[in-house]
């Protein structure tokens, strides 16, 4: 079961770093569409894999064993706020990452030509990265609560 937790953490982190790479790639003067497509797909793949491994760990270990310990312990807010937020935000992170990747594949050429479109994509990539960081830090808070 520990393997699933470690896989969830490390692969999720790779997803956050790939999202960050997408954002960095979008801010460069010369866009590399090939880089954006690769990093965008890596982010999507990492989030979906981290989601599956995390979900498996949640159902078999966190829910029945860890959650009751946290709720009865000294930091019940760690579950009530951070875990509740984390598990709901994580539901749509692979979807957001998928949307970004599809935009690069289907409308990549438009990014350099249309400034408003590029700004919207930068905003979406910023949101995915910021949520990824929040979810990762929430994991640290929750892990420290038991």
């Amino acid at each position: 079961m520990t393997t699933f937790l470690i896989a969830h953490i490390v692969i999720g982190l790779i997803g956050v770093m790939a999202s960050y790479a997408v954002l960095m790639g979008l801010l460069k003067k010369r866009l590399s569409l090939a880089f954006l497509k690769t990093a965008g797909f890596a982010a999507f793949l990492a989030y979906i894999t981290s989601w599956v491994t995390g979900g498996y760990y949640y159902v078999l270990r966190y829910g029945p064993v860890v959650k009751p310990i946290i709720k009865d312990g000294g930091s019940p807010w760690a579950h009530a706020f951070f875990m509740e937020a984390k598990e709901h935000i994580f539901l749509f992170m692979p979807v957001l990452a998928f949307v970004l990747w599809v935009l690069f594949v289907a409308a990549g050429a438009r990014i350099e030509k249309d400034a408003r479109f590029k700004s919207a994509i930068i905003a979406l990539a910023s949101l995915v990265t910021a949520l990824g960081i929040y979810v990762a830090l929430s994991g640290v808070v929750i892990s420290g609560a038991h």
Binding site: I9, L13, I133, V140, G144
Partner: protein, 170 residues
């Protein structure tokens, strides 16, 4: 060699690349702007240095979180509420955000360079100074003062260095 040792080595290598990269980025940039423009060779050196910096950041973050995961899996989770750990996490986020802001030219260069240099040294010092007994707020307040002081000193060095080189060329 066990996983913990491999992760410690990776974490140290990441920090070394980051601290070294941030130091040389500042030196190369200073030398590059001496004549008022960055030529292709200077640009290439800077690009390589920034690549090393990012490699250091990736290694640092991956190894750092892997160590946390390993500790949690071994039942040592009390460490996760340590103020030094949270100061290091905050500073790592600042390093990453600062790199984005510098790339987007959305931060004054004196502050961006100071944040980069100071944050890497701060992360290294916090990693090594195990006996430090300070609250999160105290560490971050000291860090902010340090960023401003380093920013001021770097700007004075820049003015002095560029002024001197222009004077020498005349």
């Amino acid at each position: 060699m066990d996983w913990h040792t491999i992760l410690i080595i990776s974490h140290i290598v990441g920090t070394v690349l980051g601290v070294g990269g941030a130091t040389f980025a500042e030196i190369f940039y200073l030398k590059a702007i001496k004549d008022g423009e960055i030529d292709p060779t200077e640009g290439s050196f800077l690009k390589t240095t920034y690549f090393i910096l990012r490699t250091g950041l990736v290694l640092l973050v991956l190894s750092g979180f892997s160590m946390l995961a390993l500790k949690v899996s071994q039942g040592a989770s009390g460490y996760l509420y340590n103020p030094i750990l949270w100061a290091k996490l905050t500073i790592t986020i600042i390093i990453a955000t600062n790199a984005l802001l510098l790339q987007a030219h959305a931060i004054p260069s004196w502050l961006g360079f100071s944040l980069s240099l100071t944050s890497w040294y701060a992360a290294m010092i916090l990693g090594l100074w195990r006996s430090l007994d300070a609250s999160y707020v105290a560490i971050m307040l000291f860090y902010i003062v340090w960023v401003l002081a380093v920013g001021f000193i770097l700007e004075r060095i820049r003015v002095w260095y560029i002024g001197n080189s222009r004077h020498t060329r005349v």
